[in-house]
């Protein structure tokens, strides 16, 4: 521990309770940090690529999650180490920003750290390494731009989009029916996309899952599916041309916010109050009826009496619909969310062609389908699958696919997958390194080597001899001057990714390189770790 002495030679304390803290500094600190970062990357390394394996995670409550998604694995892992937490953050930010490539980014960062360690051992100052990495990442970034291709798609030509989504899905357990799921994802995104502004609001896509059935039964519904049923068992199960009143007020007597008491002290008051209460219910139902609603969707519950009145007046109703779902319904049906009965008016009602209740399996699970809405800009992807874990994993995979499709609509540049982009960048960075004066040259060269980690991992996971394959592909890229050669993970026979139709988005790849470099730079800059030791 650090000890300082004053002018009389007495020691004084710099850190509070320093004897209870452990401290690592200098090269040791950097090495410990690098080791932690690499340990995280090592866990994810085997999940990369179409032949990547899954991880089984048991949460503190005993629930089991089986997943292949880097961000989810790290999130659930219950990491304690600070540097490992940085890696978790890294994967999360890739998830927020791009939605896909969460495994790749961590593997990339891990390999950058590995290379940095070697440089540090040779006595190169960490900051010089960081700077070299920065330069190299710029080169790689620009190079990606150069080898990227634009592709055209439109509402009639969704094939390229489907292909890209299929690349994303092929590494997941759902790859059995990746074609169908990719099409669903693309159609869903196109349905809600704003092609003028080139933006997609993914909130408009609801992903709902129900166990049972098989994965092939997963469907895209142009409308909303709500996990609710009609409030009264005898209400009609199917309503055509529904006018929907969307309410956020309960079918109950009003509850003023201010505290109040109604004192009953005479019989008359008791009776008037009773009368009034009955009128409340009547009025509420009448108001809905007056504006021409044929279905009431309510955020709150209602009383038995109100329930029966609604049923009696032939006004089907759904209760306890969540806020988010309510909003989606409002968007889909073009209705307005009405907070008070007084404000109901015919133009605030939403419209839907068909509202129906559907039951599943042998239990009395029912769901409400709202279809053929006035505004089809909200869709639902309804996932079926053999068990709960499968559905959860499908949800995550579809989320990735949706993000990819959205990114393509935002920016239709693509690079080719299968490690081809990384190999090509590695070649370009390597070439640039020689022209760079100064110590950074070593760092840039190391960066090029680090880029090889992804194709290496891909080859390894696919059961190919990693080094042989990588060197062969690299040589081929340089010889044929074809940046589209990658690792042939699926044993198709060609390693030209253009022919295999393996695409990834340009921004996804660029983001991976930038984020990974940034995190590595942060980790390299730390030279002192002070942590409270165990008590």
């Amino acid at each position: 521990m650090a000890l300082a002495f004053d002018e009389y030679g007495r020691p004084f304390i710099i850190l509070k309770e320093q004897e209870r803290k452990s401290r690592l500094r200098g090269l040791d600190a950097q090495k410990a940090n690098i080791a932690a970062g690499r340990a995280v990357a090592r866990i994810l390394r085997t999940s990369l690529g179409p032949k990547g394996m899954d991880k089984m995670l048991q949460s503190p409550d005993g629930d089991v999650i089986i997943t292949n998604d880097g961000a989810t694995i790290l999130e659930q892992m219950d990491v304690d180490n600070q540097i490992a937490k940085l890696m978790v953050e890294l994967s999360r930010s890739q998830d927020y920003e791009i939605g896909d490539g969460t495994t790749g980014v961590v593997v990339m960062a891990g390999s950058l750290l590995e290379q940095a360690e070697k440089l540090l051992e040779r006595g190169i100052h960490p900051l010089r390494v960081a700077e070299g990495y920065e330069v190299a990442s710029r080169i790689a970034f620009d190079h990606l731009e150069k080898i990227s291709q634009k592709f055209e798609f439109g509402p009639d030509n969704i094939e390229p989009l489907v292909q890209t989504c299929m690349t994303t899905l092929s590494s997941k357990i759902v790859n059995r029916c990746k074609r169908a799921l990719a099409e669903i994802a693309v159609k869903a995104v196109l349905a809600v996309a704003d092609l003028e502004r080139k933006d997609v609001n993914l909130d408009l896509i609801k992903v709902e899952g129900k166990v049972g059935g098989k994965l092939e039964d997963t469907e895209l519904i142009y409308g909303i599916v709500v996990d609710k049923d009609m409030s009264h068992p005898q209400m009609p199960k199917r309503i055509e041309d529904a006018n929907i009143a969307i309410l956020t007020c309960p079918f109950e007597p009003p509850k003023p916010k201010t505290k109040h008491k109604v004192d009953i002290d005479t019989v008359e008051k008791f009776q008037t109050l009773r009368e009034q209460e009955r009128k409340y219910f009547d009025d509420m139902v009448q108001k809905c009826k007056d504006v021409g609603a044929t279905l009431v969707i309510c955020q709150w519950g209602f009383d038995d009496e109100a329930n029966h009145l609604l049923m009696h007046r032939n006004l089907p109703a759904v209760r306890w619909v969540g806020g988010v779902e309510l909003e989606l319904i409002a968007i889909a049906t073009g209705g307005r969310i009405v907070p008070r009965f007084q404000e109901l008016s015919p133009e605030k009602l939403g419209r839907a062609g068909i509202v129906r209740e559907k039951s599943f399996g042998t239990t009395k699970d029912r769901m409400l389908y709202i279809e053929q809405c006035a505004n089809s800009r909200a869709v639902t992807i309804f996932i079926r699958g053999g068990n709960k874990m499968m559905i959860e994993e499908t949800k995550r995979s579809l989320h990735d696919a949706l993000c990819v499709a959205r990114n393509l609509i935002r920016n239709n540049s693509i690079v080719y997958g299968g490690g081809s982009a990384e190999i090509s960048c590695s070649v370009a960075v390597e070439a640039a390194a020689d022209r760079h004066p100064g110590v950074e040259q070593y760092a840039i060269r190391s960066f090029a080597e680090a880029l090889d980690a992804i194709p290496l991992a891909l080859a390894e996971n696919s059961g190919l001899p990693p080094i042989d394959t990588l060197t062969a592909v690299k040589a081929q890229q340089i010889k044929e001057n074809n940046p589209f050669c990658g690792i042939d993970c699926n044993d198709v026979g060609t390693n030209d990714m253009k022919e295999q139709n393996v695409f990834e988005t340009l921004i996804g790849k660029q983001q991976q390189i930038l984020l990974a470099t940034q995190v590595v730079k942060i980790i390299l800059k730390i030279d002192d770790v002070i942590s409270p030791s165990e008590y």
Binding site: L57, Q58, Q234, I264, T266, H308, S359
Partner: protein, 527 residues
């Protein structure tokens, strides 16, 4: 440099081979646990709950057994989950699905130890499952048009399902009960309309199907015990004290006399409510909630049969059978739909009095009364009957039928074998393994029946190499028999669900190469 602490303190991490081993062992242990319950000669299990009372359950139903287990192994949890889903989705085959998944993993373990990569195994399994499903699809029979034949199909399916359960002694009788009940539903899959009442006493053979509806309630004192041509109002309303629902209302009085006045007003209110109900022109009133003495007395005075506190399903079922609506307000008597039935009477089953509604308007619902020596027997009988009913409703929805007794497995195994022979590469090992896993099911059925499984299964296999064979294991005679003649059938939908979800689960477990167990959440000690 080793990283000393990446994960939180109590978290554990298993990697590669060890992880795979842990999940294989866990999954196979679960499969072996339920294995012995498979087939007509399968044994039952006793489960003792850890809760208060140490209740015990005796059962043969895979889903029930697995649900009651506390399992720590994550892979085993996957199997429990598929069994539960199978139960929710098709109702039967809950044991088969776990056993098949277990066998698939057992075969996979052998392959992994032969250094075949899990992904290759998965690829092989996928090809095999497609092929097996096609084989099933081709061989499935559909007798939907021929109602006579369809009925006998249903009977066969019900008998096959029941034969592995406690009801096997009276399976024909119960199969008939179940088929009758399901056919009354007329295609709806809503099992709620079939009520199962359990009354201890008598023997299982005394169970019966009642076409009307039986409500497990007593008739109030002083009220008519028998009503003909009843008009029934089904209600869900408070008949104790009808509270004022306006928020913040409370009674505040300054003298005793006022209390009395208000009490009187309250009584008056109740009286008015009862008057309104009576004004519907009914002679039977059924309420979901309690009916207090005062209104009950009023009803008795008016000669109306009032039944209180029927549970919610009971009410819904009643509304369904009598055709009335569930009412909560009583202001417009003319537009409320009343329920009708020919006769309401009190009947005795054993020592209990029950209310029977016969001659109901809609014939959709019915009641099955189960009799039996003890509560455990009854519980198990109910579960068995539930399985049979589920399978039957599913078959009504999807009328394709297969033969039973290991016939579909052998059929699939044969097709899969052929596929293996045609497939080049390492995948063919996995396809082969799939076929072996399929054959394990008839093997287990034979083993459980105490037969020479190796001999029987090889005979079966030879038999199946002839075109259009109907051979399966005849557990009763202990040989290979013609399943068509023996009338052993299974629903296509159940078999398909077993096949698909077992493979899906096996695939999921195979794909795992690392298990990370988080530290269990600490329960805060409540001081």
């Amino acid at each position: 440099m080793p990283v000393e602490r990446l994960l939180k303190d109590d978290a554990t991490e298993e990697k590669g081979e060890r992880a795979r081993m842990a999940s294989f062992v866990g999954a196979m242990a679960i499969a072996d646990l339920v294995k012995t319950t498979l087939g007509p000669k399968g044994m039952d299990k006793i489960l003792q709950s850890t809760g208060r009372g140490r209740n015990i359950t005796v059962t043969n139903d895979g889903a029930t057994i697995l649900k009651s287990l506390h399992i720590d192994n994550p892979a085993a949890k996957v199997l429990v989950d598929i069994s539960k889903v199978q139960d929710d989705e098709v109702g039967d085959g809950t044991t088969s699905v776990v056993v098949l998944a277990g066998e698939l993993l057992r075969e996979a373990e052998k392959l992994v130890s032969m250094k075949i990569h899990p992904m290759t195994i998965i690829a092989g399994y996928r090809m095999a499952v497609e092929c097996a499903r096609d084989a099933l699809l081709r061989k499935a029979m559909d007798n939907k048009q021929d109602s006579e034949k369809f009925r006998s199909d249903l009977m066969n399916i019900a008998m096959t399902t029941l034969s592995s359960k406690i009801l096997s002694q009276d399976k024909e009788y119960f199969a008939k009960l179940a088929v009758d009940a399901v056919l009354r539903l007329k295609g709806s899959t809503n099992l709620e309309a079939i009520q199962i009442l359990k009354k201890p006493g008598g023997s299982l053979g005394d169970s019966f199907l009642d076409e009307g509806f039986i409500l497990d309630k007593k008739i109030g004192i002083g009220q008519p015990k028998r009503i003909e041509n009843a008009n029934i109002l089904v209600a869900n309303t408070a008949m104790d004290t009808d509270k004022v629902k306006i928020y913040g209302a409370r009674v505040r009085v300054d003298s005793m006399s006022k209390v009395a006045e208000i009490e009187a007003a309250e009584k008056q209110k109740m009286r008015e409510k009862v008057q309104k109900i009576i004004a519907h022109g009914i002679n039977c009133f059924i309420n979901r909630q309690l009916i207090y003495n005062f209104p009950e007395e009023l009803f008795a005075d008016a000669g109306i049969l009032a039944i209180e506190h029927a549970d919610f399903e009971g009410i819904e079922r009643l509304a369904l059978v009598t055709g009335g609506e569930i009412a909560s307000t009583f202001d417009n008597p003319e537009s409320v739909k009343l329920g009708h039935c020919k006769l309401i009477e009190e009947i005795m089953i054993g020592e209990d009095k029950l209310i029977k509604f016969s001659g109901v308007e809609m014939g959709q619902a019915c009641t099955i009364v189960l009799r039996g020596a003890s509560a455990h027997v009854l519980d198990e009988a109910e579960r068995s009957l539930h399985d049979a009913l589920c399978v039957l409703t599913q078959t009504v929805a999807d009328s394709r039928v297969l033969l039973g007794g290991g016939w579909p497995e052998m059929l699939m195994a044969k097709e899969v074998d052929e596929l293996a022979r045609k497939t080049p590469g390492k995948r063919s090992h996995a396809i082969d393994a799939f076929s072996r896993a399929l054959q394990a099911i008839p093997t287990i059925i034979a083993d459980n029946a105490g037969l020479d499984s190796a001999e029987l299964v090889s005979q079966l296999r030879a038999e199946h190499h002839k075109e259009g064979s109907n051979a399966g294991i005849d557990v009763i005679t202990g040989g290979v028999g013609d399943m068509q003649k023996l009338g052993i059938s299974e629903s296509f939908k159940v078999k398909q669900a077993v096949l698909l979800s077992a493979t899906e689960a096996a695939e999921m477990i195979l794909r795992v190469d690392e298990i990370i167990t988080c530290a269990p959440r600490r329960r805060e000690d409540r001081m």
